[in-house]
Subunit: 158 residues, 2 copies
DNA sequence: ACTGAAAGTCTATGTCT
DNA sequence: AGACATAGACTTTCAGT
């Protein structure tokens, strides 16, 4: 993982559909060299995928909520996580430190759908109670944190 | 927005680097037709971008925290949001209903860096206090919610 | 809105340095 | 690890329906 890799990653986080040829121009390598590096980054699990991002309101998912999930005394984390994964409206799922077991992000069409979803969440074995925070607006989301990538490539491959 | 569009979106959410030729095969259209549809979805703002997703631990960002930001009585939401946007470690920022003004997701390298980041957050004008929840593990994140897309295309363009 | 064709570009692989 | 060559695939545009 040298600076060239970091710049490739930054470029792909910014534009996941950039061509290898373009990437090569950006980092000063041939397309085939970039192709090889990206392949290795994918194989190594550094790059886990490429995804289109969609405006949720324009696809009928205008209601977002952050839901804290408090476990029962006898709850099994893995079982709870597995059941959360079954619910398509649960977009993200974090196991957290503190009173709650999980914090999940739920995305649904309407507040009615949110109510139904919360009902499903509460019915999961191991869930004692939930606490919902409705998102009024998403200022930004999933921004790439590309701190130290602006430097020129150093050429010293790792 | 017909079923074909929804299937195209679902495919691009799953694999943002899929080719138009492939997409065409998946939805039963020519590559040029798909190209045109995707262009329209982008122009309409339905598809807002394409991004590579990276394993945070493998790029030196192993510590994630969800931070509730409680405002002062005189806080200006927009100013606070603008200042949050300046901090690269703040990956997502939600304006929420309830006691807190914002919930943000912070991604940093170490707990020391988290402490520094929380200091920066608290120093923002309009921030009264913060409440941090450290993420122990991310079970899944940003999953596509593609509910009603498995049906065959109906061919009735909107 | 879609198809099909055509020109240019890119990918993916192999060889060589 | 990367450059270069290349065959096949893909993109992008345009005329036609």
């Amino acid at each position: 993982m040298d600076n060239v890799d970091r710049r490739i990653i930054a470029a792909l986080r910014t534009n996941g559909r950039v061509t290898y040829a373009d990437l090569g121009r950006q980092v000063g390598l041939s397309a085939s060299a970039v192709h090889e590096r990206v392949g290795k980054l994918e194989t190594a699990g550094v790059i886990t995928g490429y995804h289109a991002v969609v405006d949720p309101t324009l696809v009928g998912l205008g209601v977002t909520a952050l839901v804290s999930i408090h476990p029962t005394d006898t709850a099994d984390d893995e079982d709870v996580a597995a059941e959360l994964a079954e619910l398509p409206e649960v977009e993200s799922c974090y196991r957290v430190a503190g009173d709650e077991a999980f914090v999940v992000k739920v995305r649904v069409a309407t507040v009615d759908a949110l109510e139904l979803s919360l009902g499903r969440l509460r019915r999961i074995k191991g869930v004692a109670r939930t606490r919902s925070t409705v998102v009024l607006s998403t200022r930004f989301e999933g921004r790439p944190n590309v701190s130290d990538v602006d430097e020129p490539a150093d050429g010293n491959a790792g």
